[in-house]
Amino acid sequence: MATSPFAFPRFRIIFLISWLLVMADNVFLLLWSGWSWTLAITDSLVNNLLLFGVCLMLITIMRFYLPNREKYYHLVVWCALLSTIVVLLTRVILKNIFIQDDDYIKFLDQSMLIRGSFNFLMLGCIILISVIWYNLQEQKEQEQRKQDAEKLAKDAELFKLRQQLQPHFLFNSLNSINALIGTRPEEARKMVQQLSDFLRATIRKEEHQWITLQEELQNLQLYLDIEKVRFGHRLSTNIVVDESIKNLKLPSLLLQPIVENAIKFGLYDTTGETNIQISAEQEENNLLIKVINPFDPETSSPQYGTGFGLQSIQRRLYLLFARNDLLITDAKNNIFTTTVRIPQLTDKYFKPVS
């Protein structure tokens, strides 16, 4: 349902002022033609209050019923009909009030056409404004609906993506812990700790929250340490981040899936030793993060889309910054590079789009 324009106080004031002006104009015209004050004011009140009532009715009706584009001629018919009714009613009422004033009644009859035309113009304006207003409202609503739908789809997508990875990761980690308990209980204890910290951080994170690079790197370290226990010497990591930029911020749950992706294709799907490199630097007003992983072109083909299911990250970046150029991937000589730029917004805008 479209919002009525009267829901906005500013519109109400403008509407009332306009109406007072129209009434004043009516009074002035009659005075100027030589009629008395009483007569001029009464005439104006009757005429314009009736018109006012009809306008209110029109605006309200059109809130519920807006004709199709092909049926806009209906509005012209309404307009003509209503202006005729208003002018006839005005005539009946004024004739009854000033029943003895023959001159005025004569003037009234003569001015019927002018009054009718004026009413038609006024109502026409109101209808035009209403049509534009309600169409805009509808558009806005549609836009909102689309946004909501997109957000829902995105959330679902992200949830699905995480669901695919998490159970595997969780159960395999538990299996590793189970193996460690028998042979190296100290390490088992450490891994339980790491796994708990990692899961807690993942659960706590919310989509629209921004966190510092420092925090994100800590979580990543936990995740990578667990993977190192699972895969032993096969996995090595290099994290190169200058101390000075650790306070830069990024949306939560953004880097994590990129690194998970790197692990998925770089570690889960290759047989040799794997080195994952993560580096971050400041580039003008952006935080630039690079994740480099090897991949096997024989079993995984990065030629589709942005490669390797990073579409949801791309989508998310678009929803956050309305830009499609923030995620860049590159596959060369069995090396896959994911580069993500995160604009560092100024304080005023330092708030993710919700």
Binding site: N172, A179, T299
Partner: protein
């Protein structure tokens, strides 16, 4: 009796090895870190039983089994794989969900020994033929080409042709033989991409350049590679529907 463990995680291998110590009649012949090593070790040692992880690099556990003639008995070990679990449940082979206890492990061994003594026991080959493991693995086809293992992404396939008990998989490198049926491929390949145009042919529609009439009611599809693939009277409407004509 000889046993082989195939798993890509060292600790996952070590827990199976540890549990195996309680079964002195089972000798651990080899541990393998991926499917390729697994194929080699199975050919070399001819084990009686293997413990096989499903999710492994490059080729998964099922794909590895497909590469072996007369595969040994298998106890699957897996963390979480909904398709696979469905397949396990409907078939008579045991599986261990990680992490599993020594008790559960002993039971699996017990079950295997009992089954082994029954003459009519289902073989691993049976399991592979019957289990519908398709959704998880229809992205590629794994083929043994001489001594080498060839992994073909499905979008690289031009077309498939039936050849007795085998199917010829045509790619830009020529064709490879896979010991599966046409109906198996019709099932596992994406129906919006692959169409059975003829009793003996399945076409990758993205490879088609044109379709010409050919003799009476038949047609012939010309592929980008220049290959001509027959389209039967009943295959033609199917092809048209998928192509949106």
């Amino acid at each position: 009796m000889k046993v082989i463990i195939i798993d890509d995680e060292p600790l996952a291998r070590s827990i199976v090895a540890e549990y195996l110590q309680y079964h002195p009649d089972l000798v651990l012949a080899q541990v393998c870190g991926d499917g390729f090593e697994g194929v080699k070790a199975i050919q070399q040692y001819k084990p009686d039983l293997i413990f096989l992880d499903v999710q492994m690099p490059k080729i998964n556990g099922f794909e590895m089994l497909e590469l072996i003639d007369n595969p040994p008995d298998v106890i699957f070990t897996t963390a979480f794989d909904e398709y696979a679990i469905k397949a396990f449940e409907t078939h008579a082979i045991d599986y261990l969900l990680k992490p599993f206890s020594l008790d559960r492990f002993d039971k699996a061994i017990q079950k295997w020994k009992e089954k082994k003594n029954l003459p009519a026991s289902k073989t691993t080959q049976h399991f592979l033929d019957e289990a519908d493991l398709s959704p998880a693995q229809s992205q590629r086809i794994v083929i043994k080409d001489g001594g080498k293992i060839k992994i073909i992404p499905v979008h690289d396939i031009f077309y498939l042709e039936a050849a007795d008990d085998f199917v010829k998989v045509f790619t830009k490198e020529g064709y490879f033989l896979k010991n599966k049926t046409m109906s198996h491929f019709e099932q596992v390949l994406d129906g919006s991409q692959f169409v059975r145009s003829h009793r003996s042919y399945i076409i990758n529609i993205s490879q088609i350049t044109r379709i010409d009439p050919y003799e009476k009611d038949n047609h012939i599809a010309i592929l980008k590679s220049g290959a001509k693939v027959p389209v039967s009277r009943s295959g033609y409407p199917k092809l048209r529907t998928v192509l949106g004509l």
